[in-house]
Amino acid sequence: MNLLGISINHRTAPVDLREALHLSEEEIRNLIQQTKDKVLSEGIIISTCNRTEIYGIPKQNGITHLDLQNLIINFKSAAKVSEENFQKFISRESVEHLFRVATGIDSLLIGDNQIFKQVKDSFIISEEMNFAGFLIKRLMDAAVRVGKRAINETAISEGAVTVSYAAVQLVEKIFANLSKKSTLVIGTGETGEIAAKHLRDRGIGRLALTNRTFEKAEKLATELNTAVFPFDTFKDHLHKFDIIISATSSENVILTKEDIEKTMKKRNYDSLVIMDIAIPRDVDPACKDIDYVFYHDIDSLNVIVQQNLAKRRNEIPKVEKIIQEELDAFFDWYNSLQVAPTIKDLRDYFESVRAEEVGKNINKFSEEDREKLEIITKRIINKILHHPTVELKKLSDENSASDFSSLKISVIRELFGLTGNKQNQQEKN
């Protein structure tokens, strides 16, 4: 299989170079348009914040990885990116890499299932642009299946691996039903905003925001449809909340142990979760000594993140096993696709030689011998082709060494000059 693949990712290039080649959806569509015309007969382009990848079948012989690299570098006018910033794949390697990407084991954040969705979206774009041919469609079906199997059959995507998700996981270990709980987010910077959005997605009952710059809090509150408290009076309302997430850029502590003690008295010591995800910390850590106060700072949340990442790393061999199974299945299919036309081409070729020679010499035989001649020559051809046919059929049944099978088929095609027929076959597909 002549499937080419190139990838620039977190392992091959620093963030500025990855950014330089990042493609928006519109850019992907434009690049597909250019690629379709000159370089690839079918393919797929994937671009996320950590990787940009192109896979495809070359339009003609002689097209290499370098052509794909130059295509994207020129498209993005990214002169700083060089050849070393790319990983290059061909045939089985390309398929394997795509499967690794789809399962998230190639991601910076192992098991990140965002990438699975992004791969599916890229496939939809390819289909819409008529860039996904017979082979790419089948390849993407397999990639989606691998991704789903990895999620369902292993724990590769389980557990929180970001601080915000870890905070939500922790809250869920204390409270049974988030829809009956209320949260106050102090500080509406990026971290606070992400935490607020996670909690809203998990169905938190009531969400309120406060921020030193009131307008900023108001803006996010409008987006999330939540209440806002002015920063100088928010402490008066603390007791109304079961969860407090603090993520301000304040240099000093904004909630002291006394503040929390007062709050707890007003709450009649109903459990209170405090997630202090600010650096430096916003809440006095001594408040963890108060009964029913569950105080966690960024360090303790990072413990959860690291533990979950370690668990995910332990799942990688299971995912790799699934990838190998699906790779074998994919190449079995691909080889079976190749074997049948090769047998037919081989038989057609021998039959054409036989018919031609019999035709040339038919007049040298008497009327009654001509029928025998047909039978005998056909029998000879059948006997000669019996063993190669059996061997070729075996290739389609073999589960391993799929690349080797492809090699055998291509040698037979070259030896008997069947290459032209193969190209015709591919074009038909």
């Binding site: 270990k173 409270f175 049974a176 039903n177 459990s271 029913y292 569950f294 966690h296 360090d299 303790s300």
Partner: protein, 274 residues
């Protein structure tokens, strides 16, 4: 039939042990391997145990409720059976090993010391005794489960307070659920024990005319009952919650067990049947 009863008697602790090991494995490893099948193991163990109890009743012509070792086997059954129902109703599957281990203890003691009695004291051949023992045992199962969940609550509470995120954090249900499980089990246990006490008091004067109000069994039982009563009133009026109630439930359970051991083995009480 007797050899078969003896075989079952010897095997039951091992059945509970195997079920416990499967629950333990599932607790440690997680994943899907024994997620559903462990419930089947528990069900089969309970089925064999039920068969054993039925066969004993038929063979020895009385339900196995006439001495403490007979009671222990029913207690082992009641605790695991109550947990089984709880698991089916709540679908909380991560806590089975903590309950089943208690059944192992009671069943092992019972299997070691139980005797094939066909002669039963005349006083124990009473219809009221059946309902008294039945409600008392289910009541004990309730307060045992309440204490176990209470204990798990305290462990998880401590892990969460000290930011330790180990197996307990991964596998146990959340604090609110543990608190609820402990509370509702205590309510059920308290109600059934109350019924057992009422039946006991009705039956007591006719069965034991010479009983004394200062009998250790009566004092112990009343203490346990008052303790749970105080806890329930304070919970229902919203005064107590969380740790305080749970510690009370654990003390109540310890006191109930201590009182049972004291009255049946050590002190001279009308309730000493062994």
């Amino acid at each position: 039939m007797i050899p078969f009863i003896h075989t079952l008697n010897a095997l039951l602790p091992f059945f509970y042990l195997i079920t416990f090991i499967i629950y333990l494995y599932d607790f440690q490893k997680g994943g899907e391997k024994f997620h559903n099948s462990k419930r089947l193991f528990l069900f089969l163990t309970l089925l064999f145990h039920f068969l054993y109890l039925m066969l004993r009743t038929i063979q020895f012509d009385h339900p196995p409720i006439t001495n403490v070792f007979e009671i222990f086997t029913i207690l082992a059954f009641s605790i695991s059976f109550s947990y089984f129902i709880l698991e089916l109703v709540t679908d909380i599957r991560g806590t089975g090993m903590f309950i089943i281990i208690i059944s192992i203890i009671f069943q092992t003691i019972s299997s070691l010391f139980i005797q094939d009695l066909t002669e039963v004291k005349e006083v124990l051949r009473s219809n009221l005794l059946g309902s008294h023992v039945f409600s008392a045992l289910l009541g004990y199962a309730g307060i045992t489960i309440s204490a176990v969940y209470g204990f798990l609550y305290l462990i998880l509470y401590k892990e969460l307070k000290t930011s330790k995120f180990g197996l307990i954090f991964d596998r146990l249900p959340n604090l609110e659920v543990l608190e609820k499980l402990s509370f509702y089990s205590a309510v059920i246990g308290f109600t059934l024990l109350t019924i057992a006490i009422i039946i006991g008091i009705i039956w007591l004067p006719q069965a034991f005319p010479n009983f004394s109000y200062t009998d250790p069994k009566l004092i112990g039982t009343m203490l346990v009952w008052i303790l749970y009563g105080i806890g329930l009133i304070n919970k229902l009026t919203g005064k107590w919650r969380g740790k305080k109630l749970i510690i009370l439930s654990i003390i109540g359970f310890a006191l109930a067990i201590f009182s049972t051991i004291l009255t049946n083995f050590l002190a001279r009480s009308f309730h000493s049947f062994y």
